[in-house]
Amino acid sequence: MNRRSILSISAITALGLTVLPGSAVAQQKTLKEQLVGTWSLASWEQVMPDGSKVHNYGTNPKGVVVFDANGRLFVMFARPDLPKIASNAPRTATAEEAKALVAGSLAYFGTYTVNDADKALNFRLDASSFPNQVGSDQKRTITSLTADELKYDTIALAGGKISVGLKRAK
């Protein structure tokens, strides 16, 4: 083996060793570090105590979840087929329009914390379009988290379990 080959092999070995710890560190990210960023709603399903399934935002729900590095949270979910307000003003929505908009969309913001040990995610809602949630703590359990996908479950106020699926927004 000549001197040049030895140098090449050393270089390759050194490179290999630097790559290995790099990926090991990536895997040691905290759950919070993995959550930070913007996610698009991919699925939302509620399984009722009797086993029936409800899709509050339809089968093709639209929405966004933002986890900021500073611990702030923003969430908005909506049906893709919310009815337009015929009068072109929210203040003059008809009773039917208002009912459909309230049932079919939700927005809230506040802060979040995450517990790595039990994969528990807590949302504290400083404000919500559904007034009953204002000031409340909402617990979710992370069931799946990869670079591109996040899934969490929550126990619904009205009974049953809600499963939310999100894709990372690029």
């Binding site: 929405g63 933002v66 072109n88 929210p90 009773a95 908009l101 927005a107 559904f130 009953n132």
Partner: protein, 168 residues
């Protein structure tokens, strides 16, 4: 009409529209850089003197991301709770108050750095008439800590000036 006349007419039209816009705002526009917007903002003031409803939204949050996405919610803490504790079974009055008091949307944003305009390209809104539309905002002040802009046609009627403070 010859070419020179056409040019003159176009110039007058553009100038006229610019005057109209200037008159509609009634406030100087700020020079802004897109990067200055990036971050989180909390609502500090909602001045809508000619809005059609009283007691408008008083709580808001706005996130501008570096990648061009934004999220916006303007909510009203005074909206009464639903007696049924269920969004699907609100009374007509409860639903009406919630729709009047809250608006949220998300999408992408762009800025015209020269004339201080900010455009929300709305992907989805709780006020569905705005879904898929572009909404222009006229930035009147932008510092490290404060953002002020005017909405020339607020969903709640009239014009609105929103004041935001940067969230740490």
């Amino acid at each position: 009409m010859n070419r020179r006349n056409m040019l003159a007419m176009s110039a007058i039209t553009v100038f006229g529209l610019a005057l109209l816009a200037e008159g509609a705002i009634g406030a100087p526009k700020a020079k802004i850089k897109k990067g200055q917007l990036v971050g989180d903002w909390a609502l500090a003031g909602n001045n809508a003197p000619n809005a059609a409803i009283q007691n408008g939204p008083d709580d808001g949050y706005l996130v501008f991301e570096r990648n061009g996405r934004f999220s916006f919610a303007l909510l009203n803490a005074k909206v009464p709770k639903f007696a049924s504790n269920n969004r699907n079974t609100g009374t007509a009055d409860e639903n009406k108050a919630a729709v009047q008091g809250n608006i949220a949307y998300f999408g992408t944003y762009s800025v015209n750095e020269a004339d201080g305009t900010l455009t929300f390209h709305i992907t989805r809104s709780s006020y569905p008439n705005w879904t898929g539309t572009d909404q222009l905002r006229l930035v009147t002040a932008l510092t490290a800590q404060e953002l002020k802009y005017t909405n020339p046609s607020a969903s709640f009627g009239g014009t609105a000036e929103l004041v935001w403070k940067r969230v740490k």
